[in-house]
């Protein structure tokens, strides 16, 4: 039960976004730029970073929906998404993505936890400054989205089919197209 009266029937972030469309617009445009805009990390990799941070923040809605979007981009590989959330070091992702996930995980704890060694390791694995920059911004932005979703106690259904269907739609159409 949400703490404030939100439009009914809209799960997770979609409730407060419909409640306050003025702030929803730039928030949706930001996530579109970060996860789908021009960049050398694939949308699947970027969704994995968002999913991992959301799971570290224990945000059920965000990890479920972005996990579903990630899986869609990754050819329906839901196991890989689950592996990244559980233990990304043992997951079948590139060592570059592992180094970026390590940075994202530190941003989730506190920006100050990111040390020069973490950056050096990511560079060593071939990450560019733009990829490191975007990883930090994705992680920071998702801490905001996660807190927005849970700070208002939004309705978060647990039907995986709902997330699968919405995730596929979002992966095809992008963010902020339908409320």
């Amino acid at each position: 039960m949400p703490y404030i009266t939100l439009p009914e029937g809209l799960p997770g972030i979609r409730g407060p976004m419909a409640f306050r469309p003025e702030t929803a617009k730039p928030l949706n445009e930001l996530v579109e730029v970060l996860l789908r805009g021009p960049g050398t990390l694939t949308p699947g990799e970027r969704e994995l970073i968002a999913t991992y941070v959301s799971s570290q923040n224990d945000c059920f809605f965000c990890q479920s929906i972005h996990g579903a979007v990630a899986a869609y981009h990754l050819g329906g590989n839901e196991k890989l998404v689950a592996d990244v959330k559980r233990n990304y070091q043992g997951a079948e992702v590139s060592s570059k993505l592992k180094a970026l996930l390590a940075i994202a995980g530190k941003v989730q704890l506190s920006g100050k936890q990111v040390k020069v060694e973490d950056i050096a390791r990511a560079r060593q694995e071939g990450a560019t400054d733009l990829e490191i920059h975007d990883t930090v911004l994705i992680a920071a932005a998702f801490c905001m989205y996660n807190r927005y979703v849970d700070g208002l106690a939004t309705w978060q259904p647990d039907d995986p089919e709902m997330y699968r269907a919405r995730g596929a739609k979002t992966a095809q159409e992008g963010y902020g197209k339908t409320p």
């Binding site: 003025e22 702030t23 617009k25 730039p26 928030l27 445009e29 930001l30 730029v33 970060l34 805009g37 506190s110 920006g111 100050k112 990111v114 020069v116 950056i119 560019t128 400054d129 733009l130 490191i132 920059h133 975007d134 911004l137």
Partner: protein
Amino acid sequence: MNSNEPKMKPMFLPEVEDNSQPGGRGDMIRMMRDSGKEYPQIWHLFAFRPQATDRLGGFTQEIMRGDCPLSPGLRELIAAFTSAGNHCPF
């Protein structure tokens, strides 16, 4: 490099520091550097990825100054209080 350039700690990502995109944000950085003054390095983040910055700016403007019964002063206090809790002096 300008001899006046302020001695500031380098950022983690030199490419972010050296690649201000065209526009007012990069101009501000150049102006401060040329006059030997220090400036907050968040400016480099703003200047590096304008598509993201524009959205963050639009969001900040709406949430801090948009139509809402909380006064802008009170909203800034909430932002400052949260930033203090996050140990972010800037």
